[in-house]
Symmetry: C2
Subunit: 172 residues, 2 copies
Amino acid sequence: METLLKRHIRDVPDFPKPGILFKDITPLLQNHDVFKKIIADFTKRYENEGIHAIVGIESRGFLFGTPLAHELGAAFIPIRKKGKLPYKTVNVSYDLEYGSATIEMHEDAIERGQRVIVIDDLLATGGTAEAACKLIEKQGGKVVECAFVVELGFLNGREKIKSPVHSLVKYE
Amino acid sequence: METLLKRHIRDVPDFPKPGILFKDITPLLQNHDVFKKIIADFTKRYENEGIHAIVGIESRGFLFGTPLAHELGAAFIPIRKKGKLPYKTVNVSYDLEYGSATIEMHEDAIERGQRVIVIDDLLATGGTAEAACKLIEKQGGKVVECAFVVELGFLNGREKIKSPVHSLVKYE
């Protein structure tokens, strides 16, 4: 599985800024056999875990999150950058390398006691995912696991996240 | 179907600016029975149309586009705002009420002759969807239809789009 996925992840040098080797996941979406395998893999992992909701982080987390929610028969809940969600929100701020960022969720998105999977395309430093977990727990949700397609292991993001972490592809 | 969906679309006054009544589609995602019905409806409409790719417009188009591509066994291709896609892109600019906007697609996303559905959550003035169609046709793709969950009929966006248009819910 990991070898197959790595063949469909494209390295783009110097994006979004010089010196960064970006992992482009769009070829995974373009090949429907590969995309189906990804969704099937996540579905199998979570189908007997009593998951109420998949929380997807804007915007590449949406790409994997809604098909997974659809397969599991779970709710899908978007987490977005500040100011993007229309209704009343709760938010969490977190530090970035330079400055800070704020993410939001609708205040009625999670019900107390719900079991939730957080999903995003890529785990880098883990700041956004850990902030997402805090937001969910603040609303009384339980983060069963944070799931990623790609993990940049050399950035040690996994250590920043208090919930269990799962990824399909790891770069060391 | 339309009545069911309307019960799960939330009106948010004065978003994103005063005087606009925003149609919030997040409750449709939160109720998995309703979400399944939406995806099933689109799937039934397109399953015998020889569709190669679903093109989703950032970022709410991603929410409906990947589950539909997954069901149809089609490729998923994202269209994003300028500067967001990592690899080489083609782009189209279009006029907004004030100023202009540019959207992009990866240059190798569409193959000549491919049959494509453009999807977004909502049809307002139609500017972005028509720009998306131009981008696809520029690459040799054929837009079979532009599909929306919600259509704001009173903005006449349908008239701006040269390809066929389909929506599940219409507000007059």
